[in-house]
Amino acid sequence: MTLVQGGPNDHALPSRPNGTYYDLPQVKAAPFKSGAVGTYVFLAGLSGASALFSALLSRRRRRYGDSAIRRADALSMLAPTLGAGLLIYDLKTPQRFYNMLRIFRPSSPMSIGSWLLVGFGGAATAASAGEMLGRHMKLGWLRHLGACFRVPAALTGVGLATYTGSLFAATSTPRWAAAPKSLSVQFGASSVASAATALAFAEPRSDLRRSLDLVAGAALAVELAAAQSARRAYRAAGIQADGPMPIRDQLGTLLPLGLIAASAVCSPGPQRTLSRLACLAVLGGSLAMRIQTIEAGKSSAADPRVSLRLARRTHSAMRK
């Protein structure tokens, strides 16, 4: 661009930095508190998958007894209590939290999730209360009544553990929108891994512990694969991906995977130690992954080149 020489405005104007509008953000970042919402997403996953496990284990009650079921029940209570509290805390007008249940809007994962949380809260509470009260008060019928809620709790639990992926995917935030399927597979698998290792942590029976660890191992492998495919999508979209495999992912997936593999060949004593270490790594990694996903999404919204490029790509894909 040739400028008029010698004039008072003889300097290059920042009129067209890279073809965007002064490099200003093109979409707005979500106003979520990353810590609170990330913790909720983690708890929703842990509780949802725990309810799934208590349903599965109640089918093998004769073999493994009741104690694992009761522990899973306790974990399933985290989302409807602490989790729901965190969600309300994140609202900017929290006294109107109940408006979430004013309508059901199937196009909105936020609405789907609100109803899932309510449904899950009811079913999981009924199932665990039936189990606990039936045992203490020696009321068989109460136990049976509670058992009726096992399957609904497990089904809504599966939803609760995965819908959070679509919650982020169904936005215009570039990093969340770039890999909608991988994101919820990653969230769902991480939820299963966290619940399985948490149950293994307190499990005295070595056979059940080994089985739970194997499930966790499989879930971690799925999570790893989903994370890799998400990273490919980010790179293709021009989103700054944090290296080929950031240390957080390694600590949260590869490390526990290694520990579980090593524990599989150990005798029950050291197996338990390794399994417990794996549990700590999985829980920490699972929480960190959620918070980091939110943070990274928010910062991806700041770069107009990314969101505009994503739109261009959709455009040419549609034209084909």
Binding site: R59, V158, T162, A177, V222, M318
Partner: protein, 296 residues
């Protein structure tokens, strides 16, 4: 432009009640529920006076955002926000270069606004039903219902709606819902001195806009196109049309507009299905592992 016959009934200013169907006198349209209304913003007519921004702030009683200079040409508003529902962007295209054509033809100015999408991603995201399509097919946040969850903010593909820190609710252009109900045209289009912002019924507006493009072409301006009418840039990926659409003469990106906004809700089901499939697979594996005969 001829003066509407009814205008003669109101020779004085200063009325004790609004003129019935005032929009007919100022925008040649009657506002009736059940029909679709919107804005046609013709950027070739914009002179960057910001009367729309002022009129909007005045009518809607919106607080000021940052007071200061951004250094980005005359744009000191920066962006649409919870408190700024009209935003005039300024682009200086070779204004001071030798190749500049005479008569300030290097200036690009555009009054940006909520697009009032049909169908609207913010409405599809809102879990409380606070965001809704009105009887005028505009998109409005009901202030007595919004609980400030903020999910509409990342849903909007145009970066329009925002939460206000002042009251913890989502805010954006209402296309002057209150004025429409009273038969008045929106404040910004009424204030626009060049008719760069035109208010009207969608069908008539789109027709008028197409005529304008053809007219400009005839005058030798061949890069004019519409953004946001069906089949054009801006109306893509399940967003059929924008009830606030634009006539542009530069790439949409120059104005921070996406060529092909996508509809976020299209990602809800595929994403949910993939996650549930993965968890169901792992559950089956767990069921199998729990049922294995003892090894140890």
């Amino acid at each position: 432009m001829e003066v509407h016959q009814r205008a003669r009934n109101y020779p004085e200013s200063g009325f004790d009640a609004p003129i019935p169907d005032e929009a007919e006198l100022t925008a040649q349209t009657r506002v009736r529920p059940g029909r679709s209304y919107g804005f046609f913003t013709d950027t070739t007519l914009c002179i960057g006076c910001k009367a729309c921004e002022v009129a909007c702030k005045e009518w809607n009683n919106l607080p000021a955002d940052d007071l200061g200079l951004t250094g980005n040409s005359y744009d000191n508003t920066g962006a649409l926000s919870a408190h700024t529902w009209r935003h005039v962007s300024f682009i200086e295209d070779n204004v001071r270069a030798e190749i500049s054509r005479p008569f300030q033809s290097g200036w690009l100015m555009m009054s940006d606004v909520c697009k009032h999408c049909q169908t609207a991603p913010c409405v599809e995201a809102c879990p409380t039903g606070a965001l809704f399509h009105t009887e005028f097919r505009t998109v409005v946040v009901q202030q007595d219902i919004c609980n400030g969850c903020g999910y509409c903010v990342p849903a909007c593909p145009f970066g329009v709606v925002e939460l206000s820190a002042l009251d913890g609710k989502a805010h954006k252009c209402t296309l002057c819902y209150d004025r429409l109900k009273g038969g008045l045209e929106p404040a910004c289009s009424k204030a626009c001195p060049t008719d760069s912002i035109q208010f009207g019924e969608m069908e008539a507006l789109e027709e008028r806009a197409l005529r304008r493009v053809r007219d400009l072409e005839a005058r030798g301006i061949d890069d004019a196109y519409l953004y946001g009418v069906p089949g054009s840039p801006g109306a893509a990926g399940g967003i059929e049309r924008l009830n606030a659409f634009f006539l542009l003469t530069a790439a949409p990106e120059r104005f921070n507009l996406p060529v092909a906004p996508s509809r976020p809700s299209d990602r809800t089901m595929p994403s949910l299905a993939a996650g549930i499939t993965a968890v169901a697979g792992l559950a089956l594996a767990a069921l199998f592992l729990f049922g294995r005969s003892d090894r140890t």
